[in-house]
Symmetry: D2
Subunit: 365 residues, 4 copies
């Protein structure tokens, strides 16, 4: 398959550019009989929506999603679900000035070389605007997973130099940073104020957790659950790193202390992040991702134009000083899509399996 | 597709358990007319082979690969290539004692729950032994890529607490650690001696670099090159984290300093790791991966048996105190397979493309 | 992948029900730089459009297609192309009466059993209305193929008992039957008049020919070109048989007379229909397909209701007495999509191939 | 995926040439816990095996299959199953004389042009010898389907001019033709004697029937069950036509007589061949396929050599005068593989479905 699809049995295919007529997606393989309405999708779209606080771009996108097919009398029919978000606020004039030059760290140069031309209006297909459709499709997966007892949630674990110290899920939705640590919010606000004044941008680290996980999701040896999650998260714009569980901390760890032991009362820890041998263990699935600083900044930079001549570039327009913040719902959506796909795949091959071994409870942490 | 295949146009499918009759692979989609012989594959298999130094398992595996089809009169025919490695040294008796219990941090428990039973002989399909076939298939991709000017190489960038400081490619193949920094080899030897005596294990960090990269490999939006590399590397046994370029260091970086600027003379840096918008930029592709400590250690640990009763486990047998070391050729192979696949995919869709923009040279670092 | 996609590199995914808000498609993998506009697609949509003659359903569908993405400044960008056709004339009331019973030979019963419920409005997803999107997507493939010298055309080769005797391409588009034999048109008109009066329906046989074929399209052993064409054509509503070249006539043929011999001046015949060993030979690709009579007729029939009780059914509403007629553009589209996909796949794997053997001209017939 | 794989969840990938070291296959996605041994596969391999009667090639192939992985303690483990058949009787010398010329109606010419060279030993990959692996893989699917109550069987429905009139399953395995009509066997024997003397070959028509079918297999709209069966059967060497149910007879049929009506006691007929809207109806699945005459005959024919010069060709060596005969087990295997794949796919997406409508019994015919 070409590149705009993800998933084997639960497949999401998307289209749409930043400044085209609309964004769209087709969800193929969704089980029938699931109650789905546009509000279910809108909730997550609104969480991702820009312009909700002064710490994100002031560009307004209503992101109103319409379900075009696959749902009849309030329930999924089992056929393909068509989704559309019409583009409203476009402001093409903002982007005319970068038509003939490549923004550093953007996809402008690579699209130009790969395709011989590019849609220069706000990055076209390479714009993070495309992720709205992932969030809409992910919302369908999240609803189904929730009915299966699986909850997929995310939070901001580090903003630039500010790392969180505590995770209180109740705090996450109460602040514009998706920060789970109430004590860190004031410093984050202060930091973002300064950052905006400087016209610069900063990176971020996010964490996604899936709780209530069943045992057995993931297909050895290449379509491991962790491999597919790494694929899904690294495929989000600006992501440069993905970790499962302890991630890179395992490099200088000893096997004797790093391992999660098994007891009838439960696993003693969760350094594995809920995946063993590429298969979910029933422990919480824990993934971390690193997002680079927004490349669109007011600080002048060196680049070349379409003919390869040296020029200077300043990206005006309305951009997030930290793209990581709004990526929380996107990361949740991608993890949900992968879990949904593996849930159906596992059911397809292993529906008959009955294991005599009791399920080990997850570590309580 | 089910889970034992990777790649869309250049597809590798594998079979085989640690203690079965043989390991095998089918390479589908390899271009015709490529000179390939068993020696080409054996070189990398020998680099991965255990028992080559006292820092790896003393288990002997000859890993002699045979090409069963797809090569005629010394050249690939364009049809599917069958590969076989017969298992020789098996020593099943070593594994009998873990037949009825789950080794912590291993796939034993998840396989048992997913499939209702498991091949307990050395981990069966979940054993790293399976990766020998990846190395063999990767060698075919590496040879083709080399003919296209692309060189895929890897090294050990950190062994437990010991991080390298310099990269000298000439040093990598001269020591059993694939360490590129001559000054670090003595301390690595000393560390491994102590580790072995303690019966414990440790993690490692590896780096893979592809130089001579063409511009334009990678398919937006889901099959990005970085997403597929993350999928391929996270799919290697024991890997818990993957980074592209600066990776997690981007979290507290500023956009103004993090970005790689473009000049006619070349990119000014390579924090992006050679990928922009999921498409190769022509800069060196740089990926890092973290491998957890070997789970098979002599230090006793808690676990449960098939009936869920608490028991103690000690993994005797012959195991690597640091699985990361031997994973260097595996990581190279996986990156090569992904690049090969994207080379063919890009050629399929974009063969007609002629860009007017000159190619920007890679950063010299 | 789930069932609403076709093609590996040139992938078409569709959504939409007969009486939903809209039909849609995503074309993924289309090469960049191709001049495409909505008129290009509308031409074939209009050829398929009902209500154009009194021999087809009088149901009016404007079938106006909109390109939502993937085309910028008149050319394809290489990213996914989104297509939409909004449903206008729906007349749901026509279908209320079959809400609780299964129309014989329709998908009503199987959808109900597979999904537990169904969109009973005009067949929902199982309606031939869905094929409008295939025609739109196929038009993109046809345009690209035409630029490569490949022309995909179809005609009606038999209407009920009336088989054509001559093929004059100039005649095909001059009559509502896509009949290539001017002498047969009057009898077809007469036959259809009687058929309509009787409230019955009849089957048809179509032929699709691709001329100007390159040698080498098709991937042994399972993705043979003929296998993929059979898949694409058998996947059209009401199709019950597919033939390549001489098709079923080969059953009582002798090898000595059936074979197409090769001479420097050209092949001596084309019983193979342009495919040898699953790979295009450069001869005209010739495929035939059989379509069953429309199941929606005024003649009363026996069936059961949702509870399994025996009931009688009469399908009123506006239906084609011969669905085969309007299927000509659909069959062309499916063949074009398959050829486009294999053109890209073959280029991806075999772009380097240079054969020393001269191309044998096609048989002149 | 490239061309040597078939199936989405139950995936079979094959390798091997007529005169290479071995044939092999990987079955990926087979459910765990199925009792499988080599004898299960050997039964069907022996049914296909040449040299069993004087009506097939006297070339001896022992076709002894070995299970290399995926089966442990007599049961499938859920991981990939590796299969190998070593080539024994090769006689390369027989084929030397056609090294430099293309056999008419063979794949020689198209392979040469597609790949730039070819394995001329007995057709290499294009040889029907490759189908042995399909039979072995199909045997696994047949065993699983049988446990689900689905029986896949085939027979020869026409040999050249001799069409059968009655189907008695008990007769099929009692004669070398897989003929179900005892009255036709003598004339078939006589016909084949004459044919062999003349050095010519003839075509054949086969029929495959799957009884005990569940309702609901098949994925609209492109992966319909009939579309995938057409793909699988047209992908068998020499097949030029595929029909489902009444097939081409539907062309001059009327809707009022052709339709299969539904009654609580059962369907009144089975012209649909067990598939409605691309989904199995629970009636017997009935498919027919046409195979062209063997192209390898003793009658001299015109062709060209590698340089395009006109030459004459006579195919000596040991060939079947009617390849159709031995294709019965191959056709059964392909249908079984498709059904197995759709069984798992349907279970994956629709496991939760409970329909209130009772199942309509199959037509008794």
């Amino acid at each position: 398959m070409s590149g705009n699809s993800i998933g084997k049995l639960f497949t999401v295919t998307t289209f749409g550019e930043s400044h085209g007529l609309a964004l769209g997606a087709i969800i193929d393989g969704c089980p029938p009989g699931i109650e789905i309405c546009e509000e279910d999708l809108q909730i997550d779209l609104d969480r991702r929506k820009p312009g909700t606080s002064r710490y994100t771009t002031q560009r307004r996108e209503d992101d109103v999603v319409k379900i075009m097919s696959g749902v009849f009398e309030g329930k999924t029919t089992g056929t393909s679900i068509g989704l559309i978000i019409e583009n409203t606020d476009q402001r093409s004039k903002d982007y005319g000035k970068i038509k003939d030059r490549f923004r550093p760290m953007h996809a402008d140069y690579t699209y130009q070389q790969k395709y011989g031309s590019r849609d220069y209006r706000g990055g076209g297909r390479s714009s993070a605007r495309e992720t709205a459709m992932r969030v809409a499709a992910g919302a369908v997966a999240k609803k189904y997973l929730r009915a299966c007892g699986v909850e997929v949630r995310g939070y901001l674990s580090q903003l630039g130099p500010i790392a969180i110290e505590n995770v209180d899920w109740a705090v996450v939705e109460t602040n514009p940073f998706f920060c789970p640590d109430a004590n860190k919010i004031p410093s984050m606000e202060e930091y973002m104020q300064k950052l905006r004044k400087s016209g610069d941008s900063v990176g971020a680290k996010l964490t996604v957790v899936a709780s209530g996980m069943p045992v057995g999701l993931g297909e050895p040896v290449f379509d491991r659950l962790d491999a597919d999650i790494a694929h899904a998260l690294m495929g989000i714009n600006a992501v440069k790193g993905v970790e499962i569980g302890a991630g890179f901390d395992c490099v200088d760890a000893l096997g004797s202390t790093h391992r999660d032991e098994l007891t009838p009362e439960g696993f003693t820890s969760n350094n594995a992040g809920g995946i063993l041998g590429g298969i979910s263990s029933g422990q919480d699935l824990v993934a971390h991702l690193a997002l680079k600083p927004t490349s669109s900044i007011l600080v002048p930079g060196k680049t070349v134009d379409l003919d390869g001549n040296p020029v200077e570039v300043i990206t005006t327009g309305r951009h997030d000083p930290c793209v990581g913040i709004r990526a929380v719902p996107i990361a949740e959506a991608m993890v949900a899509i992968v879990l949904m796909d593996h849930l159906l795949r596992n059911r397809g091959q292993n529906a008959d399996v009955r294991s005599a071994t009791p399920v080990i409870p997850a570590a309580t942490s």
